[in-house]
């Protein structure tokens, strides 16, 4: 139980990161690869938030008076993750528009078949 207590969020985050990387490296379909990018992003965000967590902490909002500021979790990773989420959705949207164009040109999304140029 102690192991789970201290590592469960890290396990989730790095599980997502590794699965995302696996999809990107192995899958052939471009949309699938983009799904993998999304999962990778989610994993990174979860990792950043877990870094800032304090056991039995509270959200860093002084919504009423008398909240003990000692227990507040770190606000900085939350700000970073807000930025990272928006950047992630921007990259995904651009990637999807490229995928649509690619499909119009080649009639397929299989990255192994689209090899006009050498790597």
């Amino acid at each position: 139980m102690g192991f789970l207590n201290s590592y469960i969020y890290y396990i989730g985050a790095f599980g997502l990161i590794l699965i995302g990387l696996y999809i990107i490296l192995v899958k052939r379909n471009l949309i699938k690869v983009i799904v993998g990018l999304g999962i990778l992003d989610t994993g990174v965000n979860l990792f950043l938030i877990s870094v800032g967590y304090i056991t039995k902490g509270t959200a860093p909002i002084f919504s009423r008076t008398g909240i003990d500021s000692e227990d507040m979790v770190d606000p900085v990773p939350q700000a970073l993750v807000l930025t990272a989420i928006v950047i992630g959705v921007a990259v995904l949207a651009l990637a999807l528009s490229l995928a649509i164009r690619l499909y119009q040109h080649y009639g397929t999304l299989n990255l192994r078949k689209i090899r006009e140029q050498k790597w």
Binding site: L4, I8, Y9, R28, V35, T58, V86, L92
Partner: protein
Amino acid sequence: MILVVSFLVFLMLVGAVAASIFRDLISAVIAAALVSLIASILFYFLQAPDVAMAEASIGAALTAAIFIIAIRRTKRYEE
């Protein structure tokens, strides 16, 4: 509490694996949206309500929508 979190993490990883396995891209996108949604619940447990809101609205809803629009304009099944 810790059991709930463990179960959610397990479910999230299952969702991610499912997103990698499904050959129907729409199902894969739904699985990825499930991952985002559970991640947003985890953000809430980690005392980050701002991030939870952003992840639920941007990560789960809008991303899934643009994926589905893009799939509608390309091909639904992975070859």
